[in-house]
């Protein structure tokens, strides 16, 4: 059995990579992808904890089922919006949208 911190290390790295991407990418679809990476990092965490710390109740695994569902839903709506925007603006780059002042 691989030790718990190793799993946490992976998940943290993945989370950080996702966060970095989400903050710095210009393409809306990629930002969405990066958010998925972050959610995957969370899921790794949850599964790890439910295996190591809470193997009887497995709350973490249950939680993961819900996060997966939410992630899928979010992507579906997000992509719908992106496609609509692409029709109007012919671009998916965030800085090409009139983001106004922020």
């Amino acid at each position: 059995m691989v030790a718990l911190p190793c799993y946490l290390g992976i998940s943290t790295l993945l989370f950080v990579i996702g966060l970095f991407g989400a903050l710095t990418k210009r393409n809306a679809i990629v930002v969405l992808m990066c958010i998925e990476l972050m959610l995957n990092a969370v899921n790794i965490n949850l599964v790890t904890f439910s295996r190591f710390i809470d193997p009887q109740a497995l709350l973490g695994q249950l939680f993961v089922i819900f996060t997966i569902a939410v992630a899928a839903a979010e992507v579906a709506v997000g992509l719908a919006i992106i496609i609509v925007l692409n029709r109007y603006r012919d671009t998916v780059n965030l800085d090409d949208f009139t983001w106004l002042k922020g």
Partner: protein, 475 residues
Amino acid sequence: MMSVGLLLPEIIVGAAGLIVLIERLFSKGEPGRKDAAWFGAAAVLVALFATFKLFGTNVTAFYGSYRVDDLAVFFKIVALAAAGLTLLFAPDFLAPRGVKTGDFTALVLFAAGGMMLLPSALDFITLFISLELISISFYVMIAMQRGEVRPAEAGLKYLLLSGMASAILLYGMSLIYGLTGSTYLAAIRQALSAGEPPILAGIACLMILAGLGFKIYLVPFHMWAPDVYEGASSPTVAFLASGSSAAALAAVLRLFGESFAGLAGLWVPILLIMAVITVAVGNIVALPQTNVKRLLAYSSIAHAGYILLAIVAGGRSGTAAVMYYSLLYAFSVVAAFGVISAFAETSGGDIRSFAGLARRAPFLAFVMMVALASLAGIPPLAGFMAKFAVFAAAVQAGYIMVAGIALLLSVISIFYYFQVIKVMYVEEPAEATPITFGLGTYAALLLGLAGIIMLGVVPGPLMHIAQVAAGFARF
């Protein structure tokens, strides 16, 4: 049977949403129809009665993951009030623009369901999924307006930032789960208050704060607010501003007031500083705004700062103040956006379009003035009482300096609120045509007005309810 009874209001709202959707499926649906919204509002009314009956229940059900207490019931009522008022005036806005009222109604009802479930959630899973139900409904509501690109942009911005926020929130939750071995708030409180909690728990708690901070306009997670307020349709924004943040506040109360009490030494100072920064940013950045919707966005941010003060103050009066504030803020903001949606949408809420509103539509102007004055905290309107309760809680908890700074910063808000009032009453209208609006808008505005004035003039009973309910925040 008992536990189903606990969920009755949510079931009514959800079922109404489904019925509206099904009706939409089978009807040919000419876009001008408004009956779906009326039906939704009626369902909300029924749910409101069902919710009132739950006052004083105070039970925990579903294996400790769901709690119906006065606190939850109070926030359910806020959500229902926001949804009901929004549904009343929304069709007047949506129908002429070719949006199917049924779609919007269903989304409002589902989001309201999420807002009603969230304050009752006693474990991370229920809490998270309710929060996301709200978020996703709002993604759609924000982005769905036809024929314009602004709403879609606003929707995308909201979605991306909200997605990031939920990822951060979840990461914090996962760490808390790892450290305490449970996702149940009660168990987490127990685990965290036993002995010295690890630093990681503090970090996790801050991540959760960041995630929820997105919903409650906490600076620096507020960036979405102005663009979304400007881009989205007014009914959506009204509901967003009044309902969504209130529900999130309930979660914040449960989490930070109870579960993370053991970590208070860490998050209290941070939240205190953030509260002041939030008030400052909200009020100062609102000054140069020339768009009333953006202006109200910053005002929302400023108000979030005041509420944060009450959260930090904690205890019974702090909790009560948060609750009181949420309800009264909901009334004010719905009234304001009701007015905006009645006439100002075509120009996107630009302040110039408000010129001479008092001549073109005295009723609208009056409602707007009262709503803004309430937001500015002018007595005897509801907003003043709410502000009083918040600052009283802060002073009681000993944060006199912070309360003082926030109060002084709040003076700035007079400038931008009164600016709008001035434009409405003093300036000459560009065109003199009187503005007509539908019966629903009239009813919603009248109700909002009554709420603002009545709850300001007779605050006693509600304040009492809030105080009592705040006592049940413990679980």
